[in-house]
Symmetry: C2
Subunit: 460 residues, 2 copies
């Protein structure tokens, strides 16, 4: 029966492709950038849009749940208390689109070029969570729903999901589920489907180094007064040694060292370093000594400067010895490293290494915990079958370098299995100019989600 | 006779204070920022303004001399071929006013607060060169000119005076003089007048470090692909060792090591380190090991990052591994270090130390040569007398850390004595937000210039 039911939904999806795409475009046109207060109205607008679309798709109940920040859109359709319940998590907020000048087309005016949708959020995460709304619609409208479905779509993922934990804590009964289903990750390639079985955590800080109390003339003072940019460069440089190891005391204390056997398995994933370098136009990869690229991304923590600024950055030359220099620095964490603890280690270390001729200030931004997803759960097995149906290949389990802090939260607070069924590709350029998402990925994702529901309903 | 003549001019200056100040304000209102093309019209506007003011002040001839860049305003009054000729050099262009938000009042709307004129260019160099226009007017209108006077006011000093050398080469006869008189430097304090007897040279470069060909998600790639900001920090940090010595091979080859005796003399200049630190709100000074603050500024070369930028610098957090990072870096040079040579040493070194996982590009901006001014010339002695008249103190000769590249040019091409009679103070905050110039400095400067003409006319 389930196969038959799924087919009706798959047919519905096939017949309504244009509408599905048009609706996604409407959503992509809303610049719901959560990091920048000037888009506040748009973020709220996106929440309203989603509530309406959930209603149109056939939920019994949809609501905008206010938080101390941006609201969470909740929706549900309970067809039978005895059937398994799928809780779909996604986020309607997007990364800032800066720098705008590097976009080939405006980030909030979606276009299709070469069978790809170009827009901020095309993949991360509007394109991906909206697949679930449409898969649900296809099943609901054809009477082929086989699981209860709940939606929890938030608007603060890109700024740390600060209010989600409170919401989850206060709504444990309402959010009760048999699996939290998330599409916010990527696959290896269209030829090699994969399911994310591990994610890194995140610590994110902003540092400020202050030298003199005002910008100075670099001729009159240069050489005699510490330049905060030079000092910031020294301090950042000292955070890693010549082998790419992070020098913050205690940083690696809880990092798990894997067996050679596990590492060998990990390194069996298809990876061509020459193609990788060519695609990024780099002459060499670079990372922690003693680890492969796959290991560096999957099982090792990192420290990256995400932004730096100070002094005169306009055209031409200005001989200023600036008062201040700033940087945004993030660390990707692996299982057992706790975000708050690592952030505190960073703060202490950065203050400790500050020379006496400058003042430093470290401000923590959001963090998030790493997560390891079970590859032996009913949901994971159902997902394997769903991919097998559509791709004719068993998906590979992978360790993803990114962070979705709420995965650990769901595991801890809702005692849920989490399934990371992402349909993105590396080339989607999420968080970058010209973010895109394959039209094929969008529709194949919808079909795979429909199939997942069928398999999960029957899963042991 | 000269004392009598000077007195008439001094009286005129006293009686026309308000007009002098109002005219300066009109000039300060023109945002003649040479570094930023969007102010191009204003830079030309400033040139026209000055030509008219020279005519009003009484020159026989004034002209706007076009160059490949911004024009040079020339004016002259020859009263007697047998009398000495003073060539006044100054510049009507100003530094960019960025960051605007740090100004307490708009940079191009001059105001007087606490007897100080606040505006971009108030001191550097509009306020200073305009003293010469008004001193000339006072002498010309009262029939008390004792020297021939020529003006050469350029509009590209803040961007390297690229076209001045051509102009000087092509107009050697026209520019013939007995002293080039420049007010574009500062004094120790109002209690301790001083005359600049040495200036540092300048090399200024812009560097670009490119990692991957596009901004990447720091989760998906972080740890496996070199981050150009981290690499730029490493590279900048490596440019100085732990003693503050610059590590560029050959950098110090031509730097003169002074005798202890000379250094002792230099260190006799009044300097209170506690006051210096307090004024800048720093807990410690910092510079090359083995040298005092006065030596670090006066006789040692430097390397300062004047600006740095890369990645996400907006509000909030963005987890980007950027494609590019940039910095503006300048080196102050001491006598015998040649700007072009040092720039080339930098370019070679920076390319040499670039790791293979990034690409680097170094673009030289303008440079300039250092200069040492004779303290035993007729002009210097006349200046000493002029200061003595007004301050009742003999001015101290000082080594200034800044650069006025054209000083070396005048010495070389015009075979001229150069006199750096600056009336600025450290607190003027030139090149910084809230640049200012003392009203007293402006008027006392005019009087000192008038007196200088009197003494110079009689000098041996």
């Amino acid at each position: 029966m389930s196969e038959h039911n799924s087919q009706q939904a798959l047919n519905y999806s096939q017949e309504n492709k244009d509408d599905f795409l048009n609706e996604l475009f409407d959503l992509l046109r809303i610049p719901s950038v959560s990091a920048d207060p000037k888009f506040s109205k748009d973020v709220h607008e996106a929440a309203k849009f989603i509530k309406q679309k959930l209603i149109d798709a056939g939920v019994d109940k949809a609501e905008i749940c206010e938080t101390a920040g941006y609201p969470i859109v909740y929706g549900e359709k309970i067809i039978d208390e005895n059937l398994p319940t799928v809780l779909v998590y996604g986020h309607y907020d997007v990364q800032p689109a800066d720098p705008y000048e590097l976009w080939d087309s405006p980030p909030f005016e979606p276009v299709i070029k070469n069978d790809r949708i170009y827009a901020r959020g095309a993949c991360d995460d509007k394109g991906q969570f909206y697949m679930h709304v449409k898969a649900f619609e296809a099943m609901a409208k054809t009477g082929s729903l086989q699981c209860n479905v709940k939606f929890m779509i938030e608007g603060e993922e890109e700024v740390g999901s600060n209010n989600l934990e409170i919401f989850v804590n206060e709504n444990k009964e309402k959010l009760k589920n048999d699996v939290v289903l998330i599409s916010d990750t990527s696959m290896i390639s269209m030829d090699t489907p994969s399911i994310t079985a591990g994610l890194r955590g995140l610590s994110y800080v902003e540092v400020e180094v202050t030298g003199p109390n005002r910008d100075l003339h670099s001729g009159t003072y240069g050489g005699a007064v510490a330049n905060p940019i030079n000092v910031l460069c020294d301090m950042i440089s000292s955070l890693k040694d010549e082998n790419g190891h992070i020098t913050i005391p205690g940083f690696y204390d809880k990092v798990e060292e894997y067996s050679q056997e596990y590492r060998d398995t990990l390194n069996k994933a298809p990876f061509n370093e020459e193609d990788y370098k060519k695609e990024l136009d780099i002459d060499a990869v670079f990372g922690e000594k003693g680890y492969t690229t796959i290991e560096r991304i999957g099982i090792r923590p990192t420290l990256d400067v995400n932004g730096i600024w100070g002094g005169y950055i306009g055209e031409g030359a200005k001989t200023v010895l600036p008062s201040k220099a700033h940087a945004k620095i993030s660390m990707r964490l692996v299982p057992n490293q706790e975000s708050d603890e690592i952030t505190q280690l960073f703060v202490d270390h950065f203050n400790n290494i500050a020379p006496d001729y400058v003042k430093v200030k470290v401000t923590p931004h959001h963090g998030g915990e790493s997560a390891v997803v079970s590859t032996d759960s009913p949901a994971f097995r159902a997902a394997e079958k769903a991919f097998k149906d559509g791709w004719d290949k068993k998906p590979l389990p992978t360790r993803d370098g990114g962070s979705i802090p709420i995965v650990a939260l769901f595991e801890k607070k809702l005692k849920s299995d989490v399934l990371l069924m992402g349909f993105g590709l590396d080339k989607d350029a999420i968080h970058s100019p010209n973010e895109s998402y394959g039209v094929e990925n969008f529709f194949k994702g919808i079909d795979t989600i429909i199939r997942f529901h069928g398999h999960f309903a029957k899963a042991e």
